[in-house]
C-alpha cells in the first residue's frame, strides 16, 4: 500500500517536471514556428501551433534586404580571432605559471586572480577612448581587442597543467627538449579536452557578446550579427516573422556548436565556475 502511494507521488512530480520543461521550451518553439508563417498570419489571434501556410518569406526577406551576410562574416572573424587568441595566451601563461619558476610569478598569479574584481562593463569608457586613439572604432580589431582579457582561461589551464605528472617533464628535459617542445608536444596534447571545452565556450561567449561590439561599431557594415539584428529596422509595418527569422539566423551557429559539443560546453561551464569536472 505504502509503496503504491510513493510511486504515485513520484509520477506526479515527473508529470509536473515535464509540464514545466514544456512551458520553459515553448518560447523557443513559438519563435521558430512564427518565422515560418506569413506576416498576416502571425498577427492572427489564438494559439496556432503550426502555420496554415508554410513559407520561408521571412528568411528570404532578411537575407536579401539586410546586411546580414556581412554581419555573419564580421561575427565569424571576430569570434574565431577572440577564441584563438584567448586560448593561446591563456595556455602559454597558464603553463608558465604552473611549470616555470621565474621572478614575478607570484605577483602575476595574484594579479590574474584579483582581476575578477574589476567588472569589464566598468571599463567601457576607457576602452572606447583607447580604441579611438588607436583608430580602431568600426574595425574588426577594435571589436576584438577588449574581449581578450579572460583570466579564467589562465586559471583553468594552470590547474590542469599542475595535475600533469612531473615525470613527463623530467624525461623530456633529460632528452634535451626545450620548454616550447614540452609545451606543444606534451602538455598541450595531453589537455586537448580542456582546450576544446574552453575554445567552444569562448567562441559562444564572443558570438553572443553584445555591449562592447554595440559600442564600438556604429556603422552598419562593421556590426556583428548580435548587434546588427537589433540596430537596423525596416520602415514599414509589423514584422515579427522577419525579426525572428533574423534572430534564428543569429542563434544558429551557437545552437549548432552546442548540439555538437554538448558535453564540452557543460564541462567548460563547470570549469569556469571553479568546479573541476
Amino acid at each position: 500500500m505504502n509503496i503504491l502511494k510513493i510511486d504515485f507521488a513520484g509520477r506526479l512530480i515527473t508529470l509536473i517536471t515535464l509540464a514545466i520543461a514544456i512551458v520553459w521550451a515553448f518560447p523557443l518553439y513559438w519563435a521558430l514556428v512564427t518565422t515560418l508563417k506569413p506576416e498576416f498570419e502571425v498577427v492572427q489571434p489564438g494559439l496556432n501551433l503550426l502555420p496554415k501556410t508554410w513559407t520561408l518569406e521571412a528568411y528570404t526577406h532578411v537575407l536579401t534586404t539586410t546586411k546580414i551576410g556581412q554581419w555573419y562574416v564580421n561575427s565569424i572573424v571576430v569570434s574565431v580571432a577572440v577564441t584563438i587568441l584567448v586560448v593561446i595566451m591563456g595556455a602559454l601563461c597558464g603553463y608558465a605559471l604552473s611549470q616555470l619558476r621565474f621572478r614575478g610569478r607570484t605577483v602575476l598569479w595574484f594579479t590574474v586572480l584579483a582581476s575578477f574584481m574589476v567588472p569589464i562593463q566598468a571599463l567601457i569608457v576607457t576602452h572606447f577612448v583607447l580604441m579611438s586613439q588607436f583608430g580602431l572604432i568600426n574595425t574588426w580589431l577594435g571589436i576584438i581587442l577588449p574581449q581578450l582579457i579572460v583570466p579564467v582561461v589562465v586559471i583553468v589551464y594552470k590547474q590542469f597543467f599542475d595535475s600533469v605528472p612531473k615525470d613527463f617533464r623530467e624525461a623530456a628535459r633529460v632528452d634535451g627538449a626545450s620548454e616550447f617542445n614540452i609545451f606543444f608536444r606534451i602538455y598541450l596534447p595531453m589537455n586537448w579536452g580542456v582546450t576544446t571545452a574552453l575554445a567552444i565556450i569562448t567562441f559562444i561567449g564572443a558570438w553572443n557578446n553584445f555591449l562592447w561590439p554595440f559600442l564600438v561599431s556604429t556603422a552598419e557594415e562593421t556590426m556583428t550579427i548580435t548587434v546588427g539584428i537589433t540596430q537596423v529596422k525596416d520602415n514599414f509595418g509589423v514584422q515579427f516573422a522577419r525579426n525572428l527569422a533574423a534572430a534564428v539566423l543569429a542563434a544558429l551557429p551557437v545552437a549548432i556548436a552546442y548540439l555538437i559539443f554538448q558535453r564540452r560546453v557543460t564541462q567548460a561551464i563547470m570549469l569556469s565556475a571553479g568546479i573541476k569536472g
Binding site: T17, A21, I22, W24, A25, P27, L28, A31, T34, V43, P45, L47, I88, M89, L92, C93, Y95, A96, L97, L100, F102, R105, S115, M117, V118, P119, Q121, A122, L123, I124, V125, T126, F128, V129, L130, L145, I149, V154, S178, E179, I204, N208, F210, L211, T226, V227, I229, T230, V238, N243, L244, A247, V248, V254, A255, V265, I269, M270, G274, I275
Partner: protein, 290 residues
C-alpha cells in the same frame, strides 16, 4: 644545463602575450578610468582637473541614485529566485533517467546559450501588447492585458523574469553537478529510518548542496549587478527612466551625453559597489546553515 637567466627569458616568452594584453587592455584602462573620474573630460579628448567634484555630484544626482536603486531592485528580483529555482529544476532533472533526462535538461539549458538579441526578439514578440501570445497568460493572472515593459511597475519584474528564463540553465548545471556528489546511500539510509521527501531535502540535500548554493549566489549577485544588455534592448521602445540601471547610466553619461569624466565616475562607483558587496557576501556565506 639551463642557466637561471635563460629560464627567465623562456618564461618571459610564455607570459608575454597575456601580460602585454593585460597591461594595455586591462590595467591601463583601469588606471585611466580612475584618473578620468577627477576630470570633466568629454568622451574623446582632454578635460580639466576638477578634483572630487564628480564624486560630490554623484551623491546629489537623483538620476544616479535612482539607477543604484533600480540595480539593487533588479538584483533582488533575480538572484534568489534564480538560485532557488535552479536548485528545484536541478532536483527535478536529477530524478529522471536517460533520454528523458537529457530532453528536460535541454529545455532548461538551451535558452542560456542564446545571444541576448535573440532572447530580446523572442520576448518582445511574446509579450507584445496587441499580438503577443503571453498576453493570454498575463490576462489570466492580472485580469487585463498589460504592456509589461512599458509599465512603470511591471517592467522590472518582467525583465527579471526574462532574465531568469534565459540564464537559469547555468545554475541548473552547477546544481546537478553538486547533487551527483551526494551519495545515494544517505537517502537510502534515511528512507529506512522513515524520512519523507521534505525531511530528506531539509537534512541531507540542503546542507550538503550549500557550498554550490553559495557559489551560485555569489556568481549571480556579481552578474546581476552588471545588468545591461537585455534591459537596454527591451526598453528601447520606451520607459527608460523607470528602469535605468548603473551600466546603462554609464552608457548614457559617457556615450549619449558625452560626459567621459562623469561616466567614468559612475563606472568607478559600480566597481566599488561590486567589491563591497562581494566582501559582504563572502562574510555572510561563510556561515553554514544548520
Amino acid at each position: 644545463m639551463y642557466s637561471k637567466s635563460r629560464d627567465s627569458w623562456v618564461a618571459a616568452a610564455f607570459v608575454a602575450p597575456f601580460v602585454i594584453a593585460y597591461l594595455v587592455l586591462f590595467l591601463y584602462p583601469t588606471v585611466r578610468m580612475v584618473i578620468l573620474t577627477f576630470t570633466d573630460a568629454p568622451l574623446i579628448g582632454a578635460g580639466k582637473w576638477i578634483g572630487f567634484k564628480n564624486y560630490v555630484r554623484l551623491f546629489n544626482d537623483a538620476a544616479y541614485l535612482n539607477a543604484v536603486w533600480h540595480t539593487f531592485y533588479f538584483v533582488l528580483l533575480t538572484v534568489i529566485p534564480n538560485t532557488l529555482l535552479g536548485l528545484l529544476f536541478a532536483m527535478m532533472v536529477n530524478r529522471q533517467k536517460g533520454y528523458l533526462q537529457s530532453l528536460i535538461l535541454a529545455a532548461f539549458f538551451l535558452p542560456y546559450i542564446l545571444p541576448v538579441s535573440v532572447v530580446f526578439r523572442i520576448w518582445e514578440w511574446i509579450m507584445d501588447y496587441q499580438f503577443g501570445i503571453g498576453q493570454y497568460a498575463i490576462e489570466a493572472v492580472v485580469g487585463e492585458r498589460v504592456a509589461m515593459i512599458r509599465n512603470k511597475y511591471w517592467a522590472m519584474p518582467a525583465i527579471a523574469f526574462i532574465t531568469i528564463w534565459w540564464t537559469i540553465g547555468f545554475n541548473v548545471l552547477l546544481f546537478i553537478a553538486g547533487l551527483r556528489n551526494i551519495s545515494q546511500d544517505m537517502y537510502d539510509a534515511s528512507a529506512l529510518d522513515g524520512a519523507n521527501r521534505w525531511k530528506q531535502f531539509r537534512f541531507i540535500t540542503w546542507p550538503l548542496i550549500w557550498p554550490v548554493t553559495a557559489l551560485v549566489l555569489t556568481i549571480q549577485l556579481i552578474l546581476q549587478l552588471k545588468i545591461f544588455d537585455q534591459l537596454y534592448l527591451l526598453t528601447l521602445g520606451g520607459n527608460v527612466n523607470n528602469t535605468m540601471v548603473l551600466v546603462q547610466y554609464i552608457y548614457k553619461q559617457a556615450f549619449q551625453l558625452n560626459k567621459g569624466g562623469y561616466g567614468a565616475t559612475v563606472a568607478f562607483s559600480l566597481f566599488a559597489i561590486i567589491v563591497v558587496v562581494s566582501v559582504l557576501q563572502y562574510q555572510a556565506l561563510r556561515a553554514k546553515p544548520r
